[in-house]
Symmetry: D2
Subunit: 400 residues, 4 copies
């Protein structure tokens, strides 16, 4: 139960370093009989990998997924899945100048303090490259959720620095997000953000921002009070992403300024209309199961969001009392400006002598676009784990 694992039943264990032989995850506890194609995983890895375009670091990592166990004939066996991504583009020379100093706002100092040593070639275990393993695990979680509930997870860049998308979350479509390199809600906002990032790069500086995530077709009943509330576990998973400094659900920090009479979400009766999906085109049906599940299996799609109660507003963000209520889950994650900048900064050496440090090499001026698939992956892992946990304790899902 070291900190390298997350999830109780859907259990992801992350291993590897940024500049060693490779990195990856073991995903244990996956339901058997789920179809997983390498392309399902590769797609998300490609969205995270560096070198996609000028808005991400030019470091070229192919990040090719290798499945070494747990999947036979594109189907999960119920046993641990070992996913590996080999490191090819080391360039340790890029990191020569950081060997003896603590880079400001990096983990050099804290890793050294905790473990008594640290990797000298790049971030080692503290590198954001390790999130590739999380993304791969999240791709499997997404397949499980799609299979069972047609759950759909869509993250996108909401703001960069002070430039914020004008679109409300309910108006955001996946096709629009995929259509621009910033992974924001629309082309016009993307253009403004591109200009900001270009300026930051020219100045050897970096930018932060906010990613928003909207999850639809969430089964009712996920989350385990009073500590493993669904929003609590989401907050943890999101804060575990490198550079993340904040999490808010639904109305979040702004909601603290409302009165209760404004904030409460009235319950209303609907005519079995399911909540709108994140895709503009009609909902993709869940993949046909090759398992022995029948239509009477309460965990299949047939039992999903058929309840006829929803809320008029969604200030709660889809979770009430720590348990999903069937409305879309909406949360936001704050990402600080990347710590690595090309300007000269004050710091100390490992032997505690004052010095200055100026980064060189390949670095993202803004981490947001590449963090989008990571946010989706972490959310998927949490939801999938709570799906299995709920099924374990209660055995069925609410319908009405």
């Amino acid at each position: 139960m070291a900190g390298d694992s997350i999830g109780l039943l859907f259990r992801v264990t992350n291993w590897g370093e940024s500049h060693g032989a490779g990195l990856g995850v073991v995903v244990a506890g996956v339901p058997p009989g789920i179809t997983i194609l390498p392309a399902d995983i590769q797609k998300d890895l490609d969205a995270r990998r560096p070198g996609q375009n000028r808005f991400t670091t030019s470091r070229q990592e192919k990040d090719v997924i290798k499945i070494l166990s747990g999947i036979e004939n594109n189907e999960t066996t119920g046993t641990p899945i070992l996913l590996m991504i080999e490191n090819h583009d080391h360039r340790p020379k890029d990191y020569k100048n950081i060997e003896t100093v603590f880079r400001p706002s990096h983990a050099d100092f804290t890793y050294t303090a905790k473990y008594g040593l640290r990797s000298k070639s790049g971030g080692g275990r503290s590198s954001a490259r390790l999130t590739a393993g999380s993304v791969a695990a999240g791709a499997i979680a997404k397949q499980v959720l799609t299979h069972a509930f047609a759950t759909d997870i869509l993250a996108y860049v909401k703001s960069i620095a002070t430039t914020c998308s004008p679109y409300d979350t309910t108006a955001v479509l996946r096709e629009d997000v995929l259509a621009n390199p910033i992974k924001t809600t629309d082309t016009k906002t993307a253009e403004k953000m591109i200009a900001l990032i270009d300026t930051a790069r020219d100045n050897g500086d970096s930018l932060g921002g906010i990613i928003e995530c909207r999850i639809t077709n969430v089964p009712v009943g996920l989350g385990e009070p009073i500590y493993d509330k669904l929003d609590a576990d989401l907050a943890k998973a999101i804060l575990a992403i490198n550079a993340c400094k904040g999490f808010e659900l639904g109305s979040g920090f702004k909601g603290t300024q409302l009165r209760g009479s404004e904030h409460n979400d009235a319950f209303i009766k609907t005519d079995h209309l399911s909540a709108p999906n994140n895709s503009s085109s009609k909902k993709t049906p869940p993949k046909k199961s090759t398992s022995t599940e029948t239509a009477s299996d309460p965990t299949t799609a047939a039992y999903q969001l058929t309840q006829n109660i929803r809320t008029k507003t969604n200030h709660s963000g889809g979770i009430q009392g720590g348990i999903s209520n069937g409305m879309p889950i909406v949360f936001r994650a704050a990402f600080k400006p990347t710590a690595t900048i090309l300007q000269k900064q004050q710091t100390v050496t490992e032997t505690h002598k004052p010095t200055t440090f100026q980064a060189q090499g390949r670095h993202d001026p803004c981490v947001l676009p590449r963090a989008v698939p990571i946010v989706e992956a972490m959310a998927a892992i949490v939801l999938c784990d709570h799906f299995l946990r709920h099924r374990g304790q209660v055995g069925h899902f609410y319908t009405s």
Copy 2:
């Protein structure tokens, strides 16, 4: 590992309901030989309990702590501590009118959907009253941390609705926080907040706000990447508090608007000056240990914050790469306006018929002042757990 437990080595298991026989926690994994007086726990319970003054609900619960195991002669034995608080002030009649409706933005609907049933007399397991157990467990965690590192945790109300304290976190003193009924930073801000709350109560409405927490004398090296980062586990623990909708560390959401060159925290060398404490008077030394620990024990106060590296600014909020860096940990928690209001609201019954609901009885118009000790307790539990986990893996603490 149901959701009613938190912590890996310092393990808190919460039990009980708001209107049953009682509630409490089992705290397992506590180091032996730590002095715990009932008053240490009662003090924090009193800060949380209702009926303290007109700014909290007038429901009168004495919330007297009972220690049933694990402490002998005011000293921990290393075995599980059972803490119990009996329920005395039931008044189930107050809850007659909620038996058949789903109260808006409460957990009535989600608990019913998850478990197929729910408590009819009050919130049952979803009640904020359950946080009394967390507060009691947190009081024990605080003693462990005080004993080992003189760690000091201070939470206070930063804002209510749009009224925000003008004081910077480094200027907040415990004695000032304790001196006003709102538990905010100063008397003048308290007066403004009192006026707001009085108005809300008159309108049968409720208010939200933000609590800030500052933790000093934090040992370097706490937190376990890549998933059990210290900030990730703090976020989870804080989001698990009823009505909490957001968490941010250090610069948080505002920090996303800074450039990297502004945000990075430069490392500087100090002359062994420890970080300023939350108390204005001089630092309270850790309680004298009655255990067999000697001065050479690396976990005692002698080994604490003696490192001579700190950061010039603290945008990181005391945690870098998921590991504490010895600077004060600073975070904020967003609390939505209380769901229970005395106005008529739209909702549905358990049999899905539209209806209206208007709360009666005793309710907080603003939960913030009573949430202050809960925030401290949850933070203490997380820090104490990571203290033991770090000591388990590494066996010593960083000094320089």
Copy 3:
């Protein structure tokens, strides 16, 4: 996750001491809607409690179960169940003479060494009295298993010292076991054992023995390789019982002397005849569920042991490759002679001075009869936990 808890989804946390205010368990993760009457728990506690007859210690503990949370109207709510048994019959004076010596083969020395202190009034946390909490938790697990699969767990004394029951496990009936005070297989064997125990008591000596357990109506598919095999988790749970020194499944140690051609269990096809139950009278149907489960719920009795494959012999003891195969689970547990004897023994004091020790007070000359319900309880906890875990990951149970 301190050692005071067992089970992953069906999670039992034990608290209390032998001579403090009381003891008990929190049982978390229990499925909602299961009928639990206090008498279901009390029955097993009565079978374990001291003072039942002259073959057990004359210490009189009523061991009355108190249910403080998690059960409303005799039905589980899905939230933590706090079970408490108050201590009434302290007699601390009986323990005066053990305050300063380490009793041979007791835990006085190891508890002192581990924690730096130990309870001076009786065994504290090391007392077998703590198993009362396990028995209470096991009673809940039994109800869950009965409800879902009509699973039946029967333990009995197989041998005391060198006196062994001549009956094969398949011939043992619950009514015969309950009909004799030793809880062995038949009256005649019981008489021999009574004579042995009487002699040991007269000599101020103690006896050990072997308990056998047979579990029928076990669903196929429980157990999680490669480490949480069902037999591995059973072994752990049984070894955790005080005085237990060994565990063996099916053919066990004797089976090491067979050749593979003798030991292998041939698979055969049956005509849907379920395995024989432990009761002589016809099988008790599972209690009627008050939950919303329907006949199509794969976890109800309708889906139980209907497969038509079984094994000709059962050397495997019902578990193959760590997973239950639907045959009766049969295991044996070795219990050493009770450490407390009334003879003078060599030992040392807490300050390491040689001395002698002679126990006084109320003590079992043979722990076996009272350990029978403990063995059943620990087995029930393990099976129930694996039931929920299997349902979580796979969602259905095998039928053919």
Copy 4:
């Protein structure tokens, strides 16, 4: 927390299949600064691998260890260690004839029943080949224990079928065990066992037996009552080994026939003479640490077994009340005869039709010699985990 992981702080997660790309473990939570040479791991793998001599299967697997993360410059970094062993010698054709039948006393049936599918090429996840990962993880645990306490773990074959070594555990020397291919206590016993195995092989049959394990230089205080007792966790780890059907500690099942006055272990005072080691030559000092630990670190060798209390006899097997008492830990494990035999056996097909099955290919007639390093490895993992857990909770080790 799926069943593929073991250990709470020293956390081993096993992945892979017998006939896929490879297999291995992630070992997380390892203390930093421990020297681990590939040869340390390879040595134990070589002792387990097939094809060593005619007494083990002739299947030729080189089982070369690959370290992909967590160790830099032969030193642990404190981050997850990925160990991999590639599969080279597949020969799937050997398994053609098992594709449609359930082999008697194999896991074919139970895996199919649990997961709804199973690997068609060999045992897949149920193969004993998976224990190679456990052995590799155990080699790391051994290094940690050697580093901290000079703990020494020695397992050996005690009996095969009815042929039992005449040597008492205290007389067994590592050099004698290593000197014979059966890994039993002496050459003469080995010769008898060889004759037995040769006969079994000629008959297409198989044999079982008992492995004994003796662990010296065990620190006092390991184990966490009341469920994670050291012996309970050892029992679990040992029962998790393929073909293991029983575990007993110290006097074990035979001890049930003794009277308490015979069985109790008297405490005596010694003159700081440490318990005898498993090696005939003088005790190997622990490897020099390259970490920053100093002599005053209570977890280093300086603090090890210096207490001057021991027991006259060791019927307890080194554990009392679930906590190590500093005496050698002695336990035995029962292994059934290998399920795979070359004789024709009765069984059913996957479609439940009666048939016969006769194994072909390469198979061990007796698994015992190769199980010796597995037993050592599982014991090392348990001890190492409890070492870190004890250090986490209590922070120091007992000395007197």
